[in-house]
């Protein structure tokens, strides 16, 4: 019954993957660092400050925290 494990077998868990979830565009274009306060500020393409506080959801592909809200990447390390 059991299959012979080999490198071509796609693990069962991946068969449970949602086809893909679209990655929302980042809500900011650039990040600047304020040397005085050590805070960072998020700016849109026009250079205006983006408020990253709650109420915004940023979906990012990375493992880092791009906003006050967690990225919607389904890796538990991000929750």
């Amino acid at each position: 019954m059991a299959m012979t494990p080999n490198q071509t077998v796609r693990p069962w868990g991946l068969s449970r993957m949602a086809p893909h979830c679209s990655v929302a565009p980042l809500e900011y274009a650039t990040v600047t660092f304020d040397p005085e306060t050590q805070l960072t500020h998020f700016h849109d393409a026009g250079g205006a400050i983006v408020d990253m506080q709650r109420g915004t959801v940023t979906t990012s592909q990375g493992g880092s925290d791009g906003s006050a809200n967690s990225p919607k990447v389904a890796d538990d390390s991000n929750d």
């Binding site: 019954m1 059991a2 299959m3 494990p5 077998v9 796609r10 693990p11 069962w12 868990g13 991946l14 068969s15 449970r16 993957m17 949602a18 086809p19 893909h20 979830c21 679209s22 990655v23 990040v31 660092f33 040397p35 005085e36 306060t37 050590q38 805070l39 960072t40 998020f42 990253m52 506080q53 709650r54 109420g55 959801v57 592909q61 990375g62 493992g63 880092s64 925290d65 791009g66 906003s67 006050a68 809200n69 967690s70 919607k72 990447v73 389904a74 890796d75 538990d76 390390s77 991000n78 929750d79």
Partner: protein, 324 residues
């Protein structure tokens, strides 16, 4: 005499807005903040540290374009989410060398600072990151957990599925980024014995008895402070991360005293100052039943209604015992 600590070191990336929230509070408390992203090692981050010749702990300096700090001045480290290590070397061998040496030399130092509180210590975070460890520590701390099977054995998984009316599958870590910009997701989902097959054998899989929950709770513990929200999704989703986070309903919820004590025990076991706990809540005649689902030792909380109070709790824990 060692210098009096004056500084909180914040180890994280530039794009970490949650760290900004804590830094704002630290500025209010008039403590010096040094923000460092270890991946900047190079001209943007220079360090030197020495030990021996009469010294039994590391001394030295950390230099960024905006700060120059002595290691002994660092009273606390807020270890958040540094960028992945990087190297612009084209050659893979060189790249790996650069990264590995930096990890051991710089990261090793940042987790060995002599007079420093850590929130959380990265070693504690690493140890607490394994769901397999979490479940055992949770149940031993007195919390209810879902009956769980971890296996790569098809027969064991089938048997588990047949023994329970509903079981769920969830991945340990999610799906790594694939080619292009597609992001896959494995949401916590109900599965049946018929769904299973031999392709289970190539890796580890986690199955749990499904909890008939009516809500989730997110409990954020920082030091002794406990912040809890009942979270309900408009569609009653099994995995609330799946929907639009803006549509989630957060309500304050009281954490039962026994759970609160178990959370302190849990954190103490792993040496954590902070953890984000997820619970499933079932209604019963006797009241609410709380089931431990998992704890993220480096979890997110910036989206919670208690965000500001949590940031203050982080400052309290970071400054405890050395800053007025």
């Amino acid at each position: 005499m060692p210098p009096t600590p004056t500084t909180v070191l914040v180890v994280t990336s530039l794009i970490d807005e949650t760290a900004n929230t804590v830094i704002r509070v630290l500025i209010e408390r008039e403590v010096r903040v040094v923000r460092v992203d270890p991946a900047d090692i190079g001209t943007a981050l220079t360090f030197s540290a020495h030990i021996g010749n009469g010294r039994d702990s590391w001394g030295g300096r950390l230099l960024t374009p905006s700060r120059d700090v002595s290691l002994e001045e660092i009273g606390a480290t807020y270890y958040r989410r540094p960028s992945p290590w990087r190297s612009d070397a084209a050659d893979e061998q060189v790249r790996q060398f650069v990264i590995t040496e930096a990890r051991h030399g710089l990261r090793g130092l940042l987790r060995t600072l002599p007079n420093c509180r850590y929130v959380n210590h990265p070693a504690a975070t690493e140890g607490a990151d394994f769901k397999v460890a979490q479940l055992q520590v949770a149940v031993r701390a007195g919390m209810k957990i879902p009956e769980t099977l971890v296996t790569n054995d098809l027969d064991a998984a089938r048997k588990f599925a047949l023994e329970h009316e509903h079981i769920i599958y969830k991945s340990f870590r999610g799906v790594p980024p694939g080619a292009g910009c597609q992001v896959g997701a494995i949401w916590t989902q109900r599965i049946s014995a018929d769904d299973l097959n031999g392709s289970l054998s190539v890796t580890a899989h986690l199955f749990q008895k499904e909890i008939q929950k009516t809500a989730d709770a997110r409990v954020t513990v920082v030091g002794r402070k406990v912040f809890a929200s009942r979270i309900t999704a408009p569609d009653g989703a099994l995995d609330w991360r799946r929907g639009d986070w803006r549509e989630l309903i957060h309500e304050p919820i009281e954490v039962p005293e026994a759970i609160r004590e178990a959370l302190y025990t849990y954190l103490a076991h792993f040496g954590l100052e902070f953890g984000c706990f997820d619970f499933a809540i079932e209604e019963s005649r006797a009241g609410e039943i709380w089931t431990f689902i998992e704890c993220n030792p480096n979890g997110q909380w910036g989206w919670l209604p208690d965000c500001d109070a949590i940031a203050h709790a982080f400052a309290d824990v970071l400054l405890e015992g050395w800053w007025p």
